[in-house]
C-alpha cells in the first residue's frame, strides 16, 4: 500500500514510517499541510494519515481542499483533540476515521488497513465469504461448511464487521466504535466477552478456529 503521512511531529512521523514500512507499506512523508497537499496532488495513495493540527495548513483544511478537488483517498485523522465535536468536525471535513493521540501502534495499523480495505470493497455486496464461512446479508443468515449458525443481531453485526476486515487485526476500540457506535472506553473487557461468544458459535465443533486473538492488538478473522 502507498501511504501518505502528513505529520509535523518528526519523531511521531518516524515511528509511523518505520512501523508501516516494516508491515510492507510504502510511505511518503509531508511535514505540514501545504507540503501534504502538494504530495497528495502529485501521487496516488491508498490511505492518507493526516495530523489535525499542523503549521501552515491544518489537517481539516487540507482534507477539505482535497475533497473539493475530487480526491476520495481515505483519510485517517490523528488528533490530540478527542471531544465528540472535534471528531464530528473531522469527519465532516471529509475524514474517514479519527484516532486520538496517543494511540497504540497496533490501533493505527489496524485502522489504516481497514480504511484501505474499505476502498477495495466499495461495491455493494449481498454475500460475504471468508474461507468456509458465509454470510447472507439479505436473508441475515450465516453458514459454516453448510451448517447454519444462529446469531443474535449484535453478533451478526460483529461478525459482518470481522468478515469485511478478514485477515486484518481489528482492535477492541474499533469494534466498540464501528459495531456499537460508542466512543468511550469501558473499564472492563465487555468486548472480549462478546467476541468470545461469537467465537464459541462460529468455531466450536469445527476443526479449525477462524477467530484469532492478537496479543496487544485485538482480533483477526482468518480464512
Amino acid at each position: 500500500m502507498r501511504i501518505l503521512i502528513v505529520e509535523d511531529d518528526v519523531e511521531a512521523a518516524d515511528a509511523m514510517e518505520r512501523g508501516l514500512s516494516d508491515g510492507g507499506h510504502d510511505c511518503v512523508r509531508a511535514a505540514d499541510g501545504e507540503e501534504g497537499l502538494k504530495a497528495a496532488n502529485s501521487g496516488q495513495f491508498d490511505v492518507m494519515i493526516v495530523d489535525r493540527m499542523m503549521p501552515r495548513m491544518d489537517g481539516v483544511t487540507l482534507v477539505e481542499t482535497l475533497r473539493r478537488q475530487g480526491d476520495q483517498t481515505p483519510v485517517l485523522f490523528l488528533s490530540a483533540l478527542g471531544e465528540i465535536n472535534d471528531r464530528v468536525e473531522g469527519l465532516k471535513a471529509g475524514g474517514d476515521d479519527y484516532l486520538v493521540k496517543p494511540y497504540a501502534f497496533a490501533e493505527l495499523i489496524a485502522r489504516v488497513e481497514a480504511l484501505a480495505r474499505r476502498r477495495e470493497t466499495g461495491s455493494v455486496q449481498t454475500l460475504l465469504r471468508v474461507g468456509d464461512l458465509e454470510m447472507d446479508l439479505i436473508a441475515r443468515t450465516v453458514h459454516r461448511q453448510g451448517k447454519e449458525i444462529d446469531l443474535q443481531p449484535r453478533e451478526f453485526q460483529l461478525l459482518e464487521f470481522m468478515m469485511r476486515h478478514a485477515g486484518q487485526s481489528v482492535t477492541r476500540t474499533m469494534l466498540l466504535e464501528k459495531v456499537w457506535e460508542y466512543h468511550f472506553d469501558p473499564q472492563t473487557n465487555v468486548i472480549d466477552v462478546h467476541v468470545s461468544r461469537l467465537r464459541s458459535k462460529i468455531d466450536k465443533g469445527f476443526d479449525r478456529p477462524m477467530l484469532q486473538t492478537i496479543r496487544g492488538a485485538g482480533y483477526r478473522l482468518d480464512a
Binding site: 465528540i84 473499564q187 462478546h194 496487544g216
Partner: protein, 467 residues
C-alpha cells in the same frame, strides 16, 4: 475639582433629575393657577370698570358734564367700589374720589392702567391695594378716569401663588435632602457589594455580601453574588483537589513506569535479562495513566462547560437497552443474574454519548463488585416528580452510608477496593455527567443482606423532566 462622592452616585443624579422634572412641572402648574385665578380676577375687574365707564358716559351724553359731576359725587359717596376722577380737557381735576390720574401721559384713546391705592386699616397701618383703571376722553373734551380696587380676590390669589412658590421651594429642599439620604443608603449598599467584588478580585474567595433581610433587589443581588461565589469557591476547591488528585494518581503509576524502565534498562545493559516483560508492563502502565488522564479531562471539560454539549431528545429505555446488551454477556460470564426493567415511552434531553458512558460506568462498577451468584438490576422509570431515572442495583458489598457522598468525589476509592482495577473516576464522571444535564447522582443501600451477599448498592442517575 472632583465633586464629593455622594454627588457622583447614580441615585443622587437620579434625584437631581427628578427634582428638575418636578420644578418644571411645578412651574407649569403655578402658571396655570395664576392664569386661572389672578387673570380671571383682573378680567372681571376690567369688565366691571368698562360697564361703570359706559354707564357714566351714558349719563354724560344724556345730561352733560354737570349731570356727570353730580352722578360722580353720588356714586363716590355710595358703597360702589369704584374710584373716579373727572378732569377738564387740559387735565385739571374737576372732581372725583382720587387726587390725580395714575396715568402719566394720556394720548386721548381709551387707556388701561394698573396702579396701587394706599389705604389705612383699623390700626392706622398703611396698606397698598393693587388697582386697575380706565381713562377716556369724553365728547366734550373732558377726561374721565374710572378705577377699581382689584380687591380681595387678587390679594388672595397672590397669597396662593406665594404659598405655592414656598411649597415648591420646600419640596426642592426636602427632595435634595431625601436624595442625599437615599443616595447615601443606596451607595452604602453598592459600596458593600463593591467591597466584596474588590476582595474577591484580590483573591479572597471567602468574602460574602451582607444580606439585610429586606428582600429588596440589593438582597437579591447579594444573594446572587454569594451563590456565584459559593459555586466559584466549590469549583476552585474542586480544581485544587483535582490537581492534587491528578498529581497523586498520575505520579504513582508514572513513578512505577519509570522504575520499571530503569530496571529493564540496567538489566539489558548488563547483558542479562529479557526486556520484553518489563516493556509489556510499561505499556500497561502507560495505558493506565492515559485512561486516568482521559477521565480527568472529560470531567474537567464537562464541569467547565457547565452543560453537556449536543443535547437531543431520546428514549431513556432505548439507551438502557443498548448498554444492557453490551453488559449482559459479561454478567453471564461472571455468573451474575442480570435483569432489566425498562419503562418505555419516556423522553429525556441530553447528550447520548455522555449518558451512555455514565450508565456504562455504573454497570462497570456493579459488575466489578458483585460476586458470582449475585444479581444486577438495571431500571428505567419515571419518578412521581416527573424526573427520569436510570438505576442499577447490585448485591455487592455496597458502600457504608457515611462513605456514599465521598465515593462520588474524584479519585476516591474505598480502602477495600484498592486492588480492583479502575481509575477511581467512574462515579465522579457519572456525577459530572448528571450535573451537566441539570440532574444528580444518588447512592442508596441495595436490597439488603442475604446470606453471603449484600447489602448491595443502588446507584441512580436522575435527570430533570424533559421540556
Amino acid at each position: 475639582m472632583r465633586l464629593p462622592r455622594i454627588f457622583r452616585t447614580t441615585p443622587f443624579r437620579l434625584t437631581l433629575l427628578f427634582l428638575a422634572l418636578f420644578a418644571a412641572a411645578a412651574s407649569a402648574f403655578l402658571a396655570y393657577i395664576y392664569i386661572a385665578t389672578a387673570g380671571e380676577a383682573t378680567r372681571r375687574t376690567d369688565r366691571d370698570i368698562t360697564r361703570e365707564m359706559s354707564s357714566l358716559k351714558g349719563a354724560y351724553s344724556r345730561a352733560g358734564v354737570d349731570a356727570l359731576n353730580q352722578s360722580l359725587i353720588e356714586r363716590a359717596a355710595s358703597e360702589r367700589p369704584f374710584l373716579y376722577l373727572l378732569m377738564s380737557a387740559d387735565g385739571k381735576r374737576i372732581s372725583g374720589s382720587i387726587e390725580e390720574s395714575p396715568l402719566d401721559e394720556f394720548g386721548g384713546a381709551p387707556t388701561w392702567a394698573s396702579f396701587q391705592v394706599t389705604d389705612f386699616d383699623v390700626q392706622g397701618h398703611e396698606i397698598k391695594h393693587p388697582a386697575r383703571g380706565l381713562q377716556e376722553r369724553l365728547k366734550g373734551g373732558e377726561i374721565l378716569f374710572v378705577g377699581a380696587d382689584v380687591g380681595e380676590d387678587e390679594a388672595y390669589v397672590v397669597k396662593i401663588v406665594r404659598a405655592l412658590w414656598g411649597a415648591g421651594g420646600l419640596v426642592i429642599v426636602l427632595g435634595l435632602a431625601g436624595g442625599v439620604i437615599v443616595s447615601r443608603n443606596v451607595s452604602r449598599s453598592m459600596g458593600e457589594l463593591n467591597d466584596v467584588v474588590a476582595a474577591v478580585r484580590n483573591g479572597d474567595l471567602q468574602a460574602r455580601a451582607p444580606v439585610r433581610g429586606a428582600r429588596d433587589e440589593f438582597d437579591e443581588l447579594s444573594e446572587g453574588l454569594n451563590e456565584m461565589l459559593d459555586r466559584l469557591e466549590r469549583s476552585m476547591a474542586g480544581h485544587r483537589h483535582a490537581g492534587d488528585a491528578i498529581a497523586h494518581d498520575l505520579r504513582s503509576p508514572l513513578t512505577r513506569l519509570r522504575a520499571r524502565l530503569e530496571a529493564a534498562f540496567l538489566e539489558v545493559e548488563a547483558g542479562r535479562g529479557d526486556p520484553t516483560q518489563a516493556l509489556a508492563q510499561a505499556l500497561d502502565d502507560t495505558d493506565g495513566v492515559l485512561k486516568t488522564f482521559a477521565a480527568v479531562l472529560a470531567i474537567a471539560r464537562l464541569q467547565a462547560a457547565g452543560q453537556a454539549p449536543d443535547q437531543a431528545v431520546f428514549d431513556p429505555a432505548e439507551l438502557a437497552a443498548d448498554i444492557a446488551e453490551l453488559y449482559e454477556p459479561l454478567c453471564e460470564d461472571k455468573d451474575i443474574d442480570f435483569q432489566a426493567e425498562l419503562q418505555r415511552g419516556l423522553t429525556v434531553r441530553g447528550n447520548r454519548e455522555f449518558l451512555a458512558q455514565a450508565i456504562a460506568n455504573i454497570l462497570d462498577n456493579a459488575v466489578k463488585y458483585t460476586p458470582a451468584g449475585g444479581a444486577i438490576m438495571l431500571r428505567v422509570r419515571r419518578r412521581s416528580s416527573g424526573e427520569v431515572e436510570w438505576s442499577v442495583t447490585d448485591t455487592g458489598p455496597g458502600v457504608p452510608e457515611t462513605d456514599r457522598a465521598r465515593v462520588v468525589e474524584r479519585f476516591v476509592r474505598l480502602e477495600n477496593s484498592r486492588n480492583e482495577p479502575g481509575s477511581g473516576l467512574g462515579l465522579s464522571l457519572v456525577g459530572a455527567v448528571a450535573e451537566a444535564h441539570g440532574g444528580r447522582l444518588e447512592l442508596d443501600e441495595g436490597p439488603g443482606k442475604v446470606g453471603e451477599l449484600g447489602p448491595g448498592l443502588r446507584v441512580a442517575l436522575i435527570l430533570p423532566r424533559a421540556g
